[in-house]
Amino acid sequence: MMLSKGLKRKREEEEEEKEALAVDAWWLEPGHPAVAQAPPAVASSSLFDLSVLKLHHSLRQSEPDLRHLVLVVNTLRRIQASMAPAATLPPVPSPPTAPGIADNLLASSDAALSASMASLLEDLSHIEGLSQAPQPLVDEGPPGRPSGAAPPSLGALDLLGPATGCLLDDGLEGLFEDIDTSMYDSEFWAPVSEGHKPSPEDGPGKEEAPELDEAELDYLMDVLVGTQALERPPGPGR
């Protein structure tokens, strides 16, 4: 295929096709000759966001399509693996498009990335309602993860929201009755629940970001990083 081999295009090619080449190239893995045309960090961020949206949308189904879920998660793993080197750099400058939560994800520490990934992957464990206590994750994540990896696994359950409580076995639901889930009805996740299709790269999700105040943003980052442990009494709802 012309694209993957990075062949030069003819001069009389139309402008749109040149743009298409640039846009289409960014989903290739870094190191690929064709990727040199586009900044990988920004591109992977968009694909990462898209995949995260897909994952959440999939999980919010009453009975997730396991194949879809597994494929999205595996793709997310690949993306994360390719983004790992970039995450250790200083915060990535925001792209020309409107700054959004996703950029904060990128700008935050490596721990936050891996923790959010870990928590998302944890969601799989709740599909059939496994009754084991949240277990430390196997492998995943680039080196340099903090030792406090256990709390993020609990954060995953919170992120799912009350709708997925039905995925648990009956015995487990009682454990989580006292969790105040109103704090998770923030606008950050709103695009996921409202939109049935993942938004395009610069979708409405980012446009809603400016509406969140700083305090809410900090709180969300804390959740993602996993400083919010289940054992703590739930704070006042937001």
Binding site: V70, T75, R78, I127, Q135
Partner: protein, 540 residues
């Protein structure tokens, strides 16, 4: 013609034969109520036909022929004969007509639900010929099964081979609600598989996400008359009024086709069933969901054997699911199953009770030049089919169809590009979820040609001997009686020729996921959303 021999080697020309289904919204149509043989169905409280989903009502025709609104409830109580078919006569759209010189275009819509527009429930979700090709079954998203039967060929119309007409319609699965998990179980028919015919009745398996059912479809053309204790309407007579005794006799009646559920195989799958396959011993069959495969005996519904289980102890470690499974056509101990990672495992049930360790493992190494974030998704196998000979298996992933020799595990012997022009569009297709579409693939009767669907209502055939391929389209515009299908071509860049279509003009909402090939003749059935197209090769 010699069935299935060298299908594409002599430049087989495919012709439109029939199309079944609703026409698009916007076309005007008049309704005509006609009486057709073999479609009178006696009402009864248990008759599956009257368990209409969501209590839909419809104007059925009373026995006198005049249209009359009739609820299913009324029909059940009175037990009278009710006509359930109707013919829609559209004023536009070209379709097959019964005689050559007739202008009026008719659609045989007798099996439709009571609405004149297409709904999501009419989307066809599976198509399957039976072992002789006499019957063609379709399942749809609304849980209904429609069976077509090929009419007997008449001597005075030798140039036109038998057409398929509606034989039976029944509601196979209903939407269910799992109260324990607060989940709704879809009634969509995922797969239909026929059993080989062993007596006068036909048997098929149909499955939704959770439950497999064995249906018996049988004909009745005689009924007993002259009961002593019941009168002609079936009401009990007061014994005191009976003065004479008579012997009931069987009298001929209009042919009636009834479908009855003989077995219900439920509560064996936690995850969604994607495949069923009848074993060559005709005594057992298997059902596969995302993580497990169960073996059933047709006679036993409350037990099944689990023969494959790939569920990890810790669901966090889940990276692969089962996508399709099939029994070997001749060896009743052998089956294959495919995975979302593009691998195929062949298992022998004689080796152990739980076939977690495969006998053979088929996987092609990844091509490094094509590697991308989407490599795994496009390698996910959506369908696996044994050849009729049992020597080969065919797999379909997102962009290709591959033929594997059972004796060579490290790579396929043939790879066919279905729509390689999509390789540069994978990101968009990921965004709109099209990359997760599951296309099926089929062999022809002699295993010389394979067929699979694509987008824009295109479908592709590949001749394994001549290495030639063709792209055809299932569309109403090209559906004139016995019109020869013109090969289509997708233009990938540069100048677009007159008849070509550019990649960006493809309609990704029109996808052909389900196709079927007659077991011995060049007759194919192609499901395009809510329409079923039947094509035949040109008879000289």
């Amino acid at each position: 013609m010699i069935p299935g021999l060298g299908a594409l080697t002599q430049d087989t020309l495919w012709c439109f034969s029939q199309v079944k289904g609703t026409i698009e919204i916007g076309a005007t149509e008049d309704e005509m109520l006609l009486s057709l043989p073999a479609l009178h169905l006696q009402t009864s409280e248990y008759h599956p036909l009257f368990q209409l989903p969501h209590g839909r009502l419809g104007p059925w025709c009373s026995p006198t022929g005049s249209p009359a609104p009739l609820s299913c409830e009324t029909g059940c109580r009175e037990g009278s004969w009710i006509l359930v078919c109707r013919l829609l006569v559209p004023t536009q759209v070209s379709l097959l007509s019964m005689e050559e010189d007739i202008d009026t275009r008719k659609i045989n819509n007798s099996f439709l639900r009571d609405h004149s527009y297409a709904t999501e429930a009419d989307i066809i979700s599976t198509v399957e010929f039976n072992h002789t090709g006499e019957l063609l079954a379709t399942g749809d998203k609304g849980g209904r099964v429609v069976i077509f039967q090929r009419e007997q060929e008449s001597k005075n119309q030798v140039h036109r081979r038998g057409e398929y007409n509606v034989y039976s319609t029944f509601q196979s699965h209903e939407p269910e609600f799992d109260y324990l998990k607060s989940l709704e179980i879809e009634e969509k028919i995922n797969k239909i598989r026929w059993l080989p015919q062993q007596n006068a009745a036909y048997f098929l398996l149909s499955t939704n996400d959770k439950t497999v059912k064995l249906w018996k479809v049988s004909e009745r053309d005689k009924r007993p008359e002259g009961y002593n204790l019941k009168d002609e309407e079936g009401r009990l007579r007061d014994p005191a009024t009976i003065t004479t005794l008579r012997v009931p006799v069987l009298r001929p009646m209009d042919l009636m086709v009834e479908a009855t559920p003989r077995r219900v195989f439920a509560n064996a799958h936690t995850y969604h069933i994607n495949s069923i396959s009848v074993n060559s011993d005709y005594e057992t069959y298997m059902s596969a969901d995302d993580l497990r495969i169960n073996l059933w005996n047709f006679e036993i519904t409350n037990q099944s054997f689990n023969i494959v289980d790939i569920k990890p102890a810790n669901m966090e470690e889940l990276t692969e699911v089962i996508t399709a499974a099939e029994f070997h056509p001749h060896h009743c101990n052998t089956f294959v199953y495919s995975s979302s990672k593009g691998t195929i495992r062949l298992c022998d049930m004689r080796a152990s009770a739980l076939c977690d360790r495969h006998t053979k493992f088929f996987e092609e190494p990844e091509d490094p030049s094509n590697r991308s974030f989407f490599s795994e998704i496009i390698s996910s196998i959506s369908d696996v089919k044994f050849s009729h000979s049992g020597r080969y298996i065919m797999t379909r992933d997102y962009l290709t169809v591959k033929v594997w020799d059972l004796n060579m595990e490290n790579r396929p012997i043939e790879t066919y590009q279905v729509h390689d022009y999509l390789r540069s569009k994978l990101c968009s297709l990921y965004e709109n979820d099209c990359i997760f579409d599951k296309f099926e693939c089929v062999w022809n009767g002699s295993d010389s040609v394979i067929m699979t669907g694509s987008y824009n209502n295109f479908f592709r055939m590949f001749d394994r001997n001549t290495k030639r391929d063709v792209t055809l389209e299932a569309s109403r515009e090209n559906s004139k009686p016995r019109a020869i299908l013109k090969p289509r071509k997708v233009c990938v860049g540069g100048k677009r020729r007159k008849d070509e279509i550019s990649v960006d003009s493809l309609d990704f909402s029109k996808k052909i996921l389900h196709t079927a090939w007659h077991p011995s003749e060049n007759i194919i059935a192609v499901a395009a959303t809510n329409n079923l197209y039947i094509f035949q090769d040109k008879v000289n």
